[in-house]
């Protein structure tokens, strides 16, 4: 067990030296969480758009469920995915448990409700502005959804970012379905948890620093894209 000062020093040295283990863990984290975010957008954005423009019986109930699912506990998602993917589970024959694919599945389930619920709000607000003009133009439902998704693109970037932030920072789901196996399913958050319990604070802190830098970097990038778009009145 090192002192905090020592740990920080070692952590920064590790980051700067480009430690191979560290890079491997960071890259796997990014691969899993970015893939999960992309999948969540592919599934969640059309759901958000359909609910945003739809007027159907039981819509309020759907909204409540969508919003409630935003708060899914990662360990519960991990447990459910584990039950499905374990040898005795219905999808056990796929042999996916303790692979990055299982982690992607769990994170996708975790953040799809976030993408759907937040995009629903964004698209509904935009639709309130466009609806009458679109009806005058006789657009089909598909054309309306396409136009809304495109015109809300910069706001939806923030929605995607919210999903990515949740995915990359969660530990409960990936540790259950991934197992934190070295060189196979070890990601930043599971490594931090493990190294901390082992007392190797330097690697844990180094990963923590990288995680923070990634979070800051992605936020800054999205913010700057949004500001450019805002100057052109595209937001």
């Amino acid at each position: 067990m090192q002192s905090i000062g020592e740990a920080f020093g070692l952590a920064i040295a590790l980051v700067l030296s480009g430690d191979a283990d560290l890079i491997e863990i960071v890259l796997l984290s990014l691969r899993v969480s970015l893939t999960a975010t992309a999948l969540a957008c592919v599934i969640g954005l059309p759901i958000g758009a359909l609910v945003a423009i739809g007027r159907f019986w039981g819509r309020s109930a759907v909204l409540i469920v969508m919003n409630a699912l935003m708060g899914l506990p990662p360990v519960v998602v991990g447990l459910l995915v584990y039950l499905y993917l374990s040898r005795s589970g219905p999808l056990g024959f796929l042999g996916l448990l303790y692979t990055p694919t299982a982690m992607i599945i769990a994170q996708t389930i975790l953040i799809t409700p976030i993408v759907a619920a937040l995009s629903r709000q964004v698209l509904e607000d935009l639709h309130a502005e466009y609806a009458e003009q679109f009806r005058s133009l006789c657009l089909t439902r598909l054309q309306t959804i396409q136009a809304l998704l495109w015109d809300a693109r910069y706001s939806l970037l923030t929605v995607g970012l919210a999903g990515f932030g949740r995915a990359v920072a969660e530990v409960g789901a990936v540790i259950i379905v991934g197992g934190n196996i070295d060189h196979l399913t070890r990601v930043m958050t599971t490594a931090i948890a493990l190294e901390t319990s082992k007392g190797d604070l330097a690697l844990a802190l180094a990963l923590g620093i990288v995680l923070l830098v990634i979070a800051l970097g992605v936020n800054a990038a999205v913010q700057s894209v949004r500001m450019t778009a805002a100057r052109q009145a595209y937001v």
Binding site: E132, R135, S136, L137, L139, Q143, A233, Y234
Partner: protein, 251 residues
């Protein structure tokens, strides 16, 4: 172009496609919101060509009438027939320009391109259309940064891109400067000369005098009078229209 040529143009269009939308018949049209009756038993016939101005004080139901005619709203009772068709069947052959233009968060050209593609029309005419409304030099600029007059010209160009047979205008020049008002009127007049039927809501009496062939004057949800512009402006028959034209408040 005379009315006769405009009519011929319409008939040519009718021969190549659908039955003509006009004449328009409105019978016993009523629109209620809860207890309030906002349009109360309207009867109206409009002929195939020209520019009809719908006038009347605030709250007389002008914009609602436009939306009903365009099929964006359902009346509480009564019927509207466009050459025998219900308004919803006619919507696609009409266009509406709103008082506050609703522009997409895209470039000027992309706003028109969007409509052309949505209607599966040839996008080849896009540049000519922008040229026509004096926005060719702003084609690549963000639409929502246009000035009020430019934004309304773009909205008008987008409406014309759908090649409408009827063009509804809901106070399109309210809050625009005089030069922008004339620019809009010029574009509308050109459309009318090509045979597009114009139905125009305005509060601008000067504009109504310049553009109207006939005037529908609404007051308290009823048609106080409907007659040729040449008769309406010198000698309105209804007391409400007289007060309105003289600048006295009509409630």
């Amino acid at each position: 172009m005379s009315d006769a040529t405009a009519l011929m143009h319409l008939q040519t269009r009718a021969a190549t496609g659908h039955a003509p939308l006009l004449p328009l018949k409105v019978r016993d049209l009523v629109l209620r919101f809860g207890e309030a009756t906002v349009l109360d038993g309207l009867n109206l016939d409009l002929g195939p060509t020209g520019c009809t101005m719908i006038m009347g004080p605030n709250g007389s139901g002008k914009s609602l009438l436009l939306k009903l005619l365009h099929g964006l709203m359902q009346p509480s009772s009564g019927r509207i027939e466009w050459g025998g068709d219900a308004p919803e069947q006619a919507t696609a052959r009409q266009a509406l320009v709103f008082q506050k233009p609703v522009l997409l968060r895209r470039s000027v050209a992309a706003n028109i391109d969007f409509v052309l593609k949505a209607r599966a029309k040839d996008t080849g005419g896009l540049d000519a259309l922008l040229e026509h409304v004096g926005l060719a030099h702003k084609a690549r600029q963000p639409a929502r940064l246009l000035s009020g007059g430019e934004a309304q010209r773009l909205a008008l160009a987008r409406a014309l891109a759908t090649d409408p047979e009827v063009l509804f205008l809901d106070e399109p020049t309210a809050s625009l400067d005089p030069a922008s008002v004339l620019a809009i009127e010029e574009i509308v007049n050109e459309a009318r000369a090509r045979g597009v039927r114009i139905i125009f809501v305005t509060h601008d009496i000067g504009q109504a005098r310049r553009m109207a062939d006939d005037v529908v004057f609404l007051h308290r949800g009823r048609i106080a009078e409907h007659c040729a512009a040449a008769e309406f402006f010198p000698e309105p028959r209804s007391a409400a229209a007289r007060d309105y034209l003289n600048g006295r408040i009509v409630v």
